[in-house]
Amino acid sequence: MSKRRSLTEAQCVSLAQKLLRERLCHQKLPDRPLALDSQYKHLLELLRRTAVHGESNSVLIVGPRGSGKTMLLGCVLRELMSLKEAQKNVLLVELNGLLQTDDKIALKEITRQLHLENVVGDKVFGSFAENLAFLLEALKKGDKSSSRPVVFVLDEFDLFAHHKNQTLLYNLLDVSQSAQTPVAVLGLTCRLDVLELLEKRVKSRFSHRQIHLFSSLSFAQYVDAVRAQLSLPPDFPDPKFSDAWNHSVTVHTQHTSRSVFTNKSYTQSLFLTSFSVRVSVSHSTLHEADLLEASRLISADSKAIILHGLSILELCLIIAMKHLNDTYDGEPFNFQMVHNEFKKFIQRKSHSIHKFEKPVVMKAFEHLLQLELVRPVDSGVCKVQREYQLMRLMLEHGQVMEALQRYPQCPTDVKQWALSAFA
């Protein structure tokens, strides 16, 4: 439009970055979660019944990490709060298993969020027993017609099952089963076997309603979803820029091979890396090389990178350990044995590595210990002398050989030693 001020290229890029970062990093809620329609309807219906009709419910949302549980719940709650009856009445209590690691802390948090009478400002008065009694009293007094429905959201539900006696879970589910204040208990968890963790009395009070979030997208649908995530919205101020961007996204996501999208949790970081690192004023559309470069950065083997930075002496020690593993079939070894192997190599086969004193070799070995490439078999027992403590190598044969190939300026006799079958 001629009335709109045309933005410079730099401003376009920065605005695009801002939008995409909010979407990918800050995880802004989409308008409608993709491919989760049935679960969305189910959950919304349940919550509506609690909020509007006063029915108590309990449900568990189960799905692997990154499958959209929090996003689904966020969208459902957003829609629920837009209903007029729910907006005025419903009380929301959000708990997280990582933060509320104890029933006492959880109870204080509930009391605080419900603004009960024993909260002044921020401080909750009374002992755990008193708080619990007070809360249950408050919840018991109500009934369907006269009290406000409460929605309890328990994030990381499996961690609540590890509390002592599962008191909190028992009480919440108990309230949801008896004809008291209408209560909805929503648990979100990534463990599929979460019901095994519950005690018998808790499990019997649970309604065994589970919503599973397993991604049922085909690869084509997945690529569509990715494209939708990366595209700029239609109300972007500079339509030419957004068209060019969307076009490049469409073209390149279609042609990029499956291997780039191997893991769902990689995808977010993949795109972030590609567009934030590579895209700039001079390079303002997405190219296939960006995606490939980003996927290479993300899927690098970190242990191989660490092996690349070791000194020659440390590398020789690792090869000695590999030989010990091969000879003795994976049995644990100690520093004396490794030093013995290394000495045999120095005496018989080496030209470039000269003899090092035992304390110098010990220091190199301790460096490997600190990097956790070698770990003691029974950690913590210090009754044995350091040189004789049994250890295991935390690397595989293939990793060591690959690291050797990539090692800068590796002496040939070291390589030969590594490749020889009989040390």
Partner: protein, 494 residues
Amino acid sequence: MFSSSSLPIQPLCIRIIQPSNLIKRMSVTLQCPGYPEDTLRSLAERLPCRETQLATLLALMGQPDQYSYPSVFIYGHRATGKSHVVLSIMKDLELPHASVDCVECVSSGLLFHQVLSAFFGPDAAALLPRCPSLSDFVRLYKQMSSNSPATQTRYIILDRAERMRDMDFSLLPALLRLQELVNDNVTVILLSEIVWEKFRPNTGCFEPLLFHFPDYSKAELVQILSWDHHPSYTPELYASYINILLGVFFSVCRDLRELRHLAVLNFSKFCEPLEKGEAKESDIHKLWKNIEPHLQRAMQTVYLREVSSVQWEQQQMDEKEATTLRVLSAHAHIELPYYSKFLLIAAYLASFNPARTDRRFFLKSHGKIRKTNFLKKHEKTSNHLLGPKPFPLDRLMAIFYSVVDSRVAPTASVFSQISSLVTLQLLSQVGHDDQLDSPKYKCSVSLDFILAISRCVCVCVRLLDLLALSLVIQSQVVRQERSLFTAVSNLHLL
């Protein structure tokens, strides 16, 4: 410059070399909108060989008011510049940050306190209760950030993050998704030398963005170490000195801090021939011949921290001939009473020779010698490699009496020397303390130490042969049992 090193280094005059092509390269790669150009340029100059990482980090961070990924995990070897680069970025660009070293945080409350006081001032940190839980921290953070919302991304930098695995199990997963929990524009940066796979909790967590700092190559190390050259000598001389140093130490150690420490300590010795007028700056070979044995000695003492750097410098000033240094470990100069030395030698023999062979070695006459393999197959490899075996007190005394050349009465003074050897940790007691009638011990010293002791004591040839024999057995050079038999009979013990 390398502010994290706290080693005692003589004050150096640091002259920053500014090659012009470096600046040209910088202005091409670092185009980060939102940050002032000249600050970025000066920042790049102070971080040699880390330009790519700097550019990538700045691109990941984006403009100050934009959201950044909730958590970033940076890993790499020690002294590769991780903390230095991240903290320099924060300080120069004046971004709101809280830098916490996880080694200092013995409890998570200390971490919370430091973060809150860095972002919201000490009054906010004072609001934390006595033993704050993670729930208190998040609640307080939410409260404070609603009062003063973030206009720029706030960064929490956790150095040596591998210590967080030993703290509360929920601390690491919660901090990785802190942005979501407090609903604020905050990013957590974790720095560690251990790879991410060893951090991941059992049931998974929010995966941070992984980013690695590669190690320095030899050329890069030369470039960085040449930055702090002495003003009274040319940079080329210093560069050749660094090359010599790396020639000795590079195959052992690639840690920048260690190499820098060694370079500083030994430079005066390197320049000695120049000062005395014996060589010119171009006589590299002569200078090399002068410094190389010195560096080899440094590898065995200063590098291993057997000698402190002050002692090393004093040594250089005092000595004119190569005298042996007084080292920390007890190898050279421990003083033990006469019988204690024999007790220790007897303990070593008891630990490393199997009990069945005692009769053969230590009895003056033991009758018929059976021609059997007196070392079982599994013992041939395991004697020296698996470590010392425990032995009862009686066996120790029996070997002691046969080893000592004079007649010794079993008085309390002899037995009390065993207890003092245990206190000195040259012997260690195995088993329960309350086993008073037959305590078991184990020898905790190495063969080198025993040889050093037995040389101090004017031990007769017989004892040295005993030790040599136990060495012979242990080094698996035994070819035939017959030749061993003849060797034993030659010892005049039979």
